[in-house]
């Protein structure tokens, strides 16, 4: 049987969810007999392969135009999209920016910080443009499964992937793996 292909990526997040994914420990060996991890921020291949993957996993919130591009590309190239962590599902910590507004947040971070001298707000065509609102991934692309948690428990990742491999959908996380913090 051909291996199921998985791609992961992160948006406005802290990488904590990916760390939690790696926390499935030695079970990753068993898992890699069944799946092929293609692209991820922690492998050489950074973009999901053009020919597509079965499962796409996104960590982090949508806070700039670059995040939207990455989310859209992942959506186009995967069959099942999983939003993992509180940022991807709810907006999380980055969404606290909504309470003060993007302009005020940028000004505070790049100009008014006590340790900053002659600060400028980065502005380049190479960079994504910050959005007015930080939102969860589902606000820009369709999401098939949400795994909240800060970070989601390693067992939640393992549970969801093994359920999908067994062909059991929708995935219903057991209560002990359904958590917000």
């Amino acid at each position: 049987m051909a291996k199921v292909r998985i791609a992961t990526d992160w948006l406005a997040g802290c990488a904590g969810c990916h760390m939690s994914l790696l926390d499935i420990d030695e079970r990753i060996v068993k898992l890699s007999e069944l799946v092929e991890f293609t692209s991820s921020p922690i492998t050489d291949l950074k973009h999901p392969p053009k020919e597509g993957v079965t499962v796409g996993i996104l960590e982090g919130a949508i806070c700039n135009t670059h995040n939207i591009e990455v989310a859209k590309q992942m959506r186009e190239r995967c069959d099942i999209l999983i939003a993992v962590g509180d940022c991807a599902t709810f907006g999380g910590i980055p969404a606290m920016r909504n309470l003060v507004g993007t302009d005020a947040a940028l000004k505070r971070a790049y100009i008014e910080t006590e340790s900053t001298v002659d600060g400028v707000i980065p502005d380049s065509d190479e960079l994504g443009k910050p959005l007015d609102m930080v939102v969860g991934v589902d606000k820009v692309v369709k999401v098939d499964l949400f795994i909240p948690g800060c970070p989601p428990r390693a067992d939640a990742f393992y549970y969801a992937l093994t359920e999908l491999l067994a062909g059991r959908t929708p995935v219903i996380l057991p209560p002990e793996l359904f958590t917000y913090d």
Binding site: T89, F90, G91, M96, N98, L99, P148, Y180, D181
Partner: protein, 594 residues
């Protein structure tokens, strides 16, 4: 009682007619989720979580407010109901910041529990954007409006339980906010810091500053105990973690206070800045020096053996436990024949022959007469009960020569000399209630006697365990003249100034058993460190005469020992072994206090 036969989820139930659908369901063991509902508060149907389908009703109904009637058919878990509940929850989550990871109450939040139950795994509606203020002006708690779900529990608690009416709701729609008084900061409001609002808040909108971020609920231990700040004896739950007291909660099951506490009981013990005594101290060459308990007890026994019984005096503060007061009586009075025993606070006189009523009976009265005591300042939880009755239409009469905290709530204020006027009015009531304290005058006593056939009463003793001290006869006959040894049982009581030792001969050997360093201990020749409220197993007697247990929540500081334990060590050293265990002492206390 009229019964009603109803059906819930196909299950036939016979229940009392007129109770709510929610109550009927709970009695039958059927779970309906709630958020704004609280057992101690009235039902208002604010949150819409408890909605159910009732046959014949046009729309879903809030089960917390809908009374059952004969033949009613109810569905609590149909798809229509659960979909609607999910919608309600999604809407609650869409406003304000209900994001758990950086909330103090995560893990003990009723909104979070509902989120888990109904699997809220993303925001269906827009992500929150509007920031509400954080009111940190209150000394003891934070009001984080961003976590508020407008359930109104805090407002109802402030109105219905404490009758203080500080909190209310301001603005409309999504701008609605819980407000203090006329929209001023909580710290500057008429709030009396009883903290009841923090205890009923289902989310992280109101919480203690002191214990914030010191451990989630699941990491803490709760020990049921009794507050020892006044004579009411409110039931508490002491929250501890790793041997530290994090907070104090009111015990909803406690018969006296039914969950309420006041500033004195809930917060002040945690903000005590006095220095603890952690080892016995003996005055050697003019200075107090640390010694062992063994040495301290031996020294004390030797001193007692060198003087005559008539040269020994004992003074007790009312903070002491039943057990300690009993041992004082047994050891000094009965075994050592000491009769010079006194109490540091006054005891109110008996006026009526019949037995006392209970505090909860106040709510059943039409006229409440308070004479010579100031419960609003000295026994606040009793004042909540009085103010509650006043809210319901009872008339309050305050008789006092001093400024009385309850005066603004009274329909009649007179001084002691004018008590006959108050008694005249009270006579006309159907169900009067009298609360009097040690501040009462002779004339007032004579006047109150006129009400002996009609009135229910409670003697509001000052201090803490005054009822037990008086019952054991520790309140008569103290005279400092000619003393060679004075034993002072002070406990946690704050005693500034040295007037307590007025008349005590300079060369007398003074023993002070206390928890805190004070001018009093500076006078002492021997200091015995006493454990405090959180550190001992003992009993207290409240003003109603209830004997209630103090349970140990943490270890005593340093070498401190419970007051009764020190007395027992002393009695053993003197060869007068009185009782061997706390249980045995307690049992004897119960017998002698009955």
């Amino acid at each position: 009682m009229t019964m009603a036969n109803i059906t819930i989820n196909g299950q036939k139930i016979s229940t009392k007619a007129g109770i709510t659908v929610l109550q009927a369901a709970r009695e039958a063991g059927i779970d309906i989720p709630t958020l704004c509902d609280h057992p101690a508060l009235s039902a208002v149907g604010a949150c819409r979580m408890c909605i159910v389908e009732i046959k014949g009703q046009r729309a879903l109904q809030t089960s917390c407010t809908f009374p059952v009637t004969e033949g009613m058919e109810i569905q609590t878990d149909s798809k229509m109901v659960t979909d609607a509940r999910k919608l309600v929850l999604d809407m609650i989550f869409s406003e304000r910041n209900h994001f758990c990871p950086y909330c103090e109450m995560s893990g003990s939040c009723e909104l979070q529990d509902l989120g888990y139950r109904y699997r809220v795994d993303h925001w269906v509606f827009s992500t929150y954007t509007k920031a509400f203020p954080l009111d940190a002006t209150h000394k003891y708690y934070l009001m984080e409006h961003n976590r508020c779900v407008l359930c109104g529990r805090c407002i109802r608690a402030c109105d219905e339980l404490v009758a203080n009416h500080t909190l209310g709701l301001g603005q409309r729609g999504s701008e609605s906010m819980v407000r203090a008084d006329a929209n001023i900061l909580l710290g500057e409001s008429s709030c009396i810091s009883c903290g009841t609002c923090t205890q009923v808040c289902p989310t992280g909108a109101l919480f203690y500053k002191r214990s914030a971020f010191m451990g989630k609920d699941s990491l803490t231990t709760k020990v049921k105990s009794t507050c020892n700040q006044c004579g009411i004896g409110c039931g508490t739950e002491v929250v501890t973690r790793g041997g530290n007291v994090l907070g104090i909660l009111g015990d909803w099951d406690a018969p006296v206070n039914k969950g309420l506490l006041c500033k004195m009981g809930r917060f002040e013990p945690l903000y005590d800045s006095r220095r603890r005594l952690t080892a016995p101290l003996l005055r050697t060459k003019g200075k107090l020096k640390e010694i062992s308990w063994e040495e301290a007890i031996q020294t004390l026994a030797k001193q007692i053996n060198t003087v005559k019984a008539s040269e020994i005096g004992v003074l007790s503060g009312s903070y002491s436990s039943n057990e300690a007061l009993y041992l004082i009586k047994k050891l000094f009075n009965e075994k050592l024949q000491v009769s010079n025993i006194g109490l540091t606070n006054a005891v109110a006189p008996r006026i009526f022959d019949k037995g006392q009523s209970k505090l909860e009976d106040i709510t059943k009265s039409d006229i409440i007469l308070v004479a010579g005591s100031d419960p609003l300042n000295d026994q606040p939880v009793a004042s909540f009960i009085i103010k509650r009755a006043v809210d319901k239409g009872a008339r309050l009469i305050v008789v006092d020569d001093k400024i009385n905290g309850l005066a603004p709530f009274a329909f009649m204020n007179v001084d002691m000399a004018g008590i006959s006027k108050a008694v005249e009015v009270t006579k006309r009531a159907n169900n009067p209630f009298i609360l009097y304290g040690a501040g009462i005058t002779k004339t007032a006593i004579a006047e109150l006697k006129k009400l002996k056939d009609k009135a229910n009463y409670i003697i509001v003793e000052s201090g803490v365990n005054t009822v037990a001290a008086a019952a054991l006869g520790l309140n008569n006959g103290y005279n400092p003249a000619g003393l060679k040894l004075l034993y002072v049982l002070m406990g946690e009581q704050n005693y500034e100034g040295a007037d307590l030792f007025k008349g005590v001969p300079k060369n007398a050997f003074i023993v002070v058993q206390a928890s805190y360093l004070s001018p009093l201990t500076e006078w002492a020749d021997l200091v015995l460190p006493a454990a405090i409220w959180s550190e001992q197993n003992s009993n207290l007697t409240n003003i109603e005469g209830r004997i209630q247990k103090i349970n140990k929540a943490v270890e005593p500081a340093g070498e401190a020992k419970p007051d009764w334990e020190a007395l027992q060590l002393l009695s053993a050293e003197l060869g007068k072994n009185i009782a061997v265990s706390i249980d045995k002492v307690s049992a004897e206390v119960m017998k002698s206090l009955k």
